[in-house]
């Protein structure tokens, strides 16, 4: 009787753990099946090479390039902010600051990631953009630049927290050896600790990249939602995520080409982030083996 109960409980717990796999299967399955009909009307070649994305217009054009362009542009701007700030902050926290002080600073830094993204959208649109307009008078009310900058600040904690963990797990005797041959703290940080923690730091960057790629509300609010094939950050543009939000806000009949187009966009985004996640996973594995 008792053994039976134990078995039953174990089975229930196993099902709970396995349900997380079902979620993944659900996400991939739904995205694939709902976007397949799209490729009956639009050829893959057109989808990948057309330079306009206007699936809801009279003469629809289905080229994903403008959306990819907007997505990459905002991601690159975000990374230009997050990677230097995050790495330097991580090196400072792990190599210079006393542990007791670090225990206070790190959670405060993590609050940056806790702020709701819609609040960051407000900040980008009504604080950062007006501020930038004083520097660049030609800047429009909607632009990728301020959205990217704000996403950058938002993902600093993702980059710094994991990088700091990686740097801190570098064994102390490596540092001591470096100090013993007369290196300064900065030399130790750059020539010993950062190279030793490199794969961990890279996997932190990759997490930052996939966060920036998938960030939605900031770009939907501040970047203008206009598919635009440009690499000029002062212009408005749409990202994949912003397009999905824009279409979802309208009334969307199930099975229409508009409905299918958001699934195609979502699938493209999923493929992009999955690629980065797998690279990150590989790096983290490599990094764990070294320890």
């Amino acid at each position: 009787m008792r053994r039976l109960r134990e078995r039953a409980i174990e089975t229930v717990l196993f099902l709970a753990a396995a349900s997380s796999v079902l979620v993944t299967i659900g996400i991939v399955g739904i995205l694939v099946t709902e976007s397949l009909p799209f490729f009956k009307t639009v050829s893959i070649v057109e989808f990948l090479t057309d330079t306009q994305w206007t699936p809801l217009f009279e003469n629809p054009r289905y080229g994903i390039l403008p959306l990819l362009c907007g997505t990459f542009l905002s991601t690159i701007i975000a990374l230009l902010v997050a990677i230097p700030l995050g790495t330097v902050a991580a090196a400072f926290l792990s190599e210079y600051v006393r542990p007791s002080f670090r225990e206070i600073l790190k959670p405060i830094l993590e609050l940056l990631a806790a702020v709701p993204t819609v609040v960051y959208g407000y900040f980008a649109l009504l604080f950062v953009t007006p501020l930038l307009q004083k520097l660049i008078p030609s800047l429009g009310g909607f632009n990728v630049l301020s959205a990217g900058l704000v996403i950058g600040v938002m993902i600093v904690p993702y980059v710094s927290s994991l990088s700091e963990d990686a740097m801190r797990s570098v064994p102390g005797h490596l540092r001591e050896a470096s100090f013993a041959v007369g290196a300064s703290r900065m030399q130790t940080a750059f020539r010993v600790v950062i190279p030793a923690a490199f794969s961990g730091i890279t996997s932190a960057y990759i997490l930052g990249i996939s966060r920036a790629l998938g960030e939605t509300m900031v770009v939907a609010i501040a970047a203008g939602m206009q598919p635009n094939l440009t690499m000029n950050p002062t212009e408005p543009a749409a990202t994949i995520t912003a397009f999905i939000v824009q279409v979802s806000l309208g009334d969307l009949p199930h099975g229409s080409i508009g409905y299918q187009s958001i699934y195609v966009a979502g699938l493209s985004l999923l493929v992009l982030t999955l690629c980065f996640n797998i690279i990150g996973l590989y790096l983290r594995k490599k990094f764990q083996e070294k320890e």
Binding site: G86, A89, A114, P116, V119, Y122
Partner: protein, 305 residues
């Protein structure tokens, strides 16, 4: 003599660079923190004056000064309830299984890889999945139940990971002592492991709920309405069986969506309302996260095994 001078100069130079780098580190930390502070101050300066009793008890309106967030905060509350109800048992159970039962085989490895991967999937894809699965395939509609399930699945990895960390921190001696008294595996978990790890689990629950309360994109995707001027069906009624679950199937709006809606209007008066909603949201998430940080440090200090 000259060589010594060289060395001294070299040391001086390196000390200077060391100092410069420390300053850079401090600056980047300060930059991040000052941005956070600026955001809070800017939002409060615009929004706080708008927050009063009426703001919480009025429905949205086309007159900015009469509009309130009643339907939004009630919606947020209902959805949090649903989210907590589906994510906590599932997440804790999964965490317990992975930490206490799972053997090192390919199934558990797949589950583990999968959880890491899930945490990296953009939240908006959860919304797309929910639209296709819950709204159209299972016909649950654009309801509170759909929203709660969506956010529940979204925060599931957070709860699983924190539960595992909390359980891993319990030393094996506790388990051995329990087995030595003749307890079964489940009894050990039920009476020892779960109570001792409840602090860590609670931290994860709070963090996941604070994430859920600010999440906007997946709810817009499943088709949450941006203008709702009624409340869900009350869960308690005057006749038998006194409680009903009709509210689960009602349409909804939540605070972040209400804020997004006001923000996307051109009139600045609505932006004030957006700022006020932002203040409410920010206060809630900061309190929840502060609470989680406090809990974590308290339990870490108290539990000295």
């Amino acid at each position: 003599m000259e060589v010594q001078q060289d060395i001294l100069a070299n040391i001086k130079r390196r000390q200077m660079w060391d100092f410069v780098f420390a300053l850079c580190g401090l600056m980047s930390l300060l930059f991040a923190l000052i941005t956070l502070l600026t955001l809070i101050v800017d939002l409060s300066m615009t929004g706080v004056a708008r927050i009063n009793y009426d703001f919480f008890t009025n429905f949205p309106s086309r007159f900015a000064d009469r509009a309130g967030i009643l339907s939004a905060w009630v919606g947020s509350f209902c959805i949090m309830l649903t989210t907590a109800f589906c994510a906590i048992p599932l997440g804790v159970a999964a965490g317990v299984y992975l930490e206490e039962y799972s053997k090192k085989n390919w199934i558990s490895q797949i589950i583990e890889l999968n959880i890491i991967n899930l945490a990296g999937i953009p939240s908006i894809t959860y919304g797309l999945m929910a639209l296709g699965l819950f709204v159209y395939k299972l016909k649950l509609g654009q309801s509170i139940l759909t929203a709660g399930l969506t956010l529940g699945l979204l925060v599931l990895p957070i709860i699983i990971v924190t539960t595992r960390e909390a359980i891993r921190a319990i030393p094996n001696t506790i388990r051995e002592a329990s087995y030595a008294m003749g307890a079964s595996k489940w009894q050990t978990i039920r009476y020892h492991i779960l109570p001792y790890s409840s602090g860590g689990i609670l931290t994860g629950v709070i963090i996941s709920l604070s994430r859920a309360i600010g999440e906007t994109a997946p709810l817009i995707t499943i088709g949450a309405l941006t203008f709702i001027a009624f409340l869900p069906t009350p869960p308690i009624e005057g006749h038998f069986p006194f409680v009903n679950f009709k509210w689960l199937m009602d349409p909804f709006t939540v605070m972040p969506i209400q804020m997004f809606n006001w923000l996307s209007r051109p009139q600045p008066e609505f932006h004030v309302n957006a700022a006020a909603t932002g203040v409410v949201l920010l206060v809630m998430t900061l309190i929840m996260n502060g609470g989680a940080i406090y809990l974590r440090s308290r339990f870490r200090k108290k539990m000295k095994w």
